[in-house]
């Protein structure tokens, strides 16, 4: 979907708000992609790596988001948006801030998609 000025989005009568703030392509349009946990974990790690821009960052399944990966509150505000962009659907801010490890994000996404 290409839309510079929401022109095309305006045409969608879908019963739910489906706008994109910057009108960029979504990986999973309309998305609740069903995927195994291994795939989810790889994509979560990719999101975190791109968010920080740190190419040297080592991310393990049990990496603690704050203590190991150095994420702060601003990063969490970005993370929820990037997870929604990657996986579609909604990531609840209040629930997301309680997630402590990469594996817990993976579990959250997997549980949401069942």
């Amino acid at each position: 979907m290409s839309c510079r000025d929401l022109t095309n989005l305006h045409r969608l009568v879908s019963g739910r708000a489906d706008g994109q703030n910057q009108c960029i392509q979504r990986n999973t349009p309309g998305g609740y992609a069903v995927a195994d946990k291994g795939d989810i974990e790889e994509r979560v790690k990719k999101v975190i790596r791109e968010l920080t821009g740190d190419k040297t960052l080592v991310i393990e399944s049990d990496s603690a988001l704050v203590d190991d990966l150095g994420l702060d509150s601003v990063d969490f505000a970005s993370l929820v948006m990037d997870l929604e962009d990657e996986f579609g659907g909604e990531v609840n801010d209040e629930e997301a801030v309680k997630l402590a490890r990469v594996s817990e994000i993976v579990d959250y996404i997997a549980a949401r998609e069942q």
Binding site: S2, R4, D5, L6, T7, L9, H10, L12, V13, S14, G15, R16, A17, D18, G19, Q20, N21, Q22, I24, Q25, V47, E50, L51, T52, G53, D54, K55, T56, L57, A77, S78, V80, M81, D82, E84, D85, E90, D93
Partner: protein, 458 residues
């Protein structure tokens, strides 16, 4: 002791193209993009003007900006950044990518002695307007859905279903952006550039409506000339498409836009007697790299032109009308010529403000005639680009600089019966241009001008 300040690189992005070379070549060809505004805008308001100058598609992700950053940054800042990157590249200042963060450094610049001054009139307001849709409508739509679920009669179901469809036809971001504040704040334009380039000098957004770009370059020039900095990234950026034409409507209801709707290619006609308003532009951006002359020469920088003077005055007259006698515009002329240390007769080229409004074009043309006579060549760049508001002064500085470099100028489009007998550029040809004046007369009553000088090209 004032130092000389030169321009070593330019970048530009507007309806004519997404890089300065394309913009310049298209300008010489007389390319003046104009089209009907998106059809759905008419569902929200009765618009008098139906025309705009849209931007080309820009794929910021393909330009190397991380996807997440695009979600959290208004287009106005993204445009400023990619334009600045073009300017740095043209200046021969390579970027070094960080391993640990989504930023660059510029090894050829002293990060503490480089300032970033960017003009913008409304900053990231388009993001705010889009998110306002989410803010106002999300719960109302849910409430409407609940009414529909509870509706007792078929008639009620039909009415509420129709209401739901009307609501659903308005699209807005699904999430109220967590970063809407740093997106909309006007200082995000220079701040995003400073963060991306790891530049720690003074970082200012300058907001004087249509004179923002001129003023940003002028203040950067003075900072380098007076020794407060050794280099600057300066210019302007503006993005005015909120998706539904609200910003457009704002200019429309103030009766500032052209209503020659039935002849789009002839509608935008600054300084012509048939003009009746300006051509709204979706937006634009332009950035100049300024450097202190001796250090630019020492590093073998390409020197495009020189900045010699800057001045601004204020009408204290009206938000929308220039002061009728032009006295404060002429004070600006006095001041900028004095700042440049030259006489009026030395100005060979004026890049006029020339928006196409009935009143202000007349005042500007008469003021030019009174002060400069019919000597200098007059270019009206907005006849090509439309009005890019906060980017206009910067785009016009780029046109002025490239005119000096190439000793030619683009023509004034749709100028058939000029409002005054001054020396408009009617067709592209060889010119002899030594000093140029690029001027802006903005809403609010701000008058700003830059004097630029040709530098021998080696």
């Amino acid at each position: 002791m004032r130092r000389r300040v030169v321009i070593t690189g330019v970048g530009a992005l507007c309806s004519l193209g997404t890089d300065s070379g394309t913009v310049w070549n298209n300008a010489l060809q007389g390319v003046a993009p104009v089209s009907e505004v998106p059809a759905h805008w008419h569902e929200y308001a009765d618009l008098r003007s139906r025309l705009w100058s849209p931007l080309p598609e820009i794929d910021f992700q393909a330009l190397g900006i991380p996807r997440g950053e695009i979600l959290r940054t208004d287009r106005v800042s993204l445009m400023g950044f990619v334009t600045a990157r073009e300017a740095l590249q043209n200046a021969g200042l390579a970027l070094q990518e960080s391993e640990t963060s989504n930023v660059f450094s510029v090894p050829g610049l002293d990060a503490l002695r480089t300032v970033i001054f960017m003009g913008t009139s409304v900053g990231g307001v388009s993001s705010l307007l889009q998110n306002q849709g989410n803010h106002l409508l999300t719960r109302r739509r849910a409430q409407l859905k609940q009414l529909l679920d509870e509706a007792g009669s078929q008639e009620a179901v039909d009415s509420l279903q129709r209401a739901s469809e009307l609501f659903a036809s308005v699209s807005y971001p699904k999430r109220f952006n967590n970063f809407i504040i740093p997106m909309l704040m006007p200082n995000a334009v220079p701040a995003y550039m400073g963060i991306k380039f790891s530049i720690h000098g003074h970082n200012n957004a300058i907001s004087l409506a249509c004179a923002s770009g001129t003023a940003a370059i002028g203040h950067a020039f003075h900072a380098v000339a007076e020794g407060r900095a050794d280099a600057a990234l300066c210019g302007g950026s503006e993005y005015l498409n909120d998706g539904y034409g609200a910003a457009f409507r704002g200019f429309d209801v103030a009766a500032t836009l052209t209503t020659h709707n039935d002849n789009p290619s002839a509608a935008n006609r600054p300084f012509d007697q048939e003009r009746n308003g300006f051509l709204f532009s979706e937006g634009g951006a332009a950035v100049l790299v300024l450097e202190e002359y001796e250090s630019a020469k020492a590093r073998g920088a390409p020197i495009v032109a020189e900045v010699c003077g800057y001045a601004e005055t204020f009408d204290a007259h009206s938000m929308l009308r220039s002061a009728p006698d032009g006295v404060h515009a002429m004070r600006m002329f006095d001041a900028v010529l004095q700042d440049a240390g030259i006489e009026a007769s030395q100005i060979g080229y004026i890049n006029a403000h020339g928006t196409g409004t009935e009143l202000n074009d007349k005042i500007e043309a008469e003021t030019i005639e009174r002060y400069f006579g019919s000597g200098p060549r007059i270019a009206a760049s907005k006849s090509l680009t439309g009005h890019t508001i906060g980017a206009a002064g910067a785009l016009e500085a780029v046109f002025s600089v490239l005119s000096l470099k190439h000793q030619t100028s683009h023509a004034c489009i749709n100028l058939e019966n000029p409002v005054a007998d001054i020396n408009f550029v009617r067709e592209v040809g060889a010119e002899t241009l030594d000093y140029a004046l690029s001027q802006s007369f903005a809403f609010g009553g701000h008058n700003a001008g830059l004097v630029l000088r040709r530098v021998e090209q080696t």
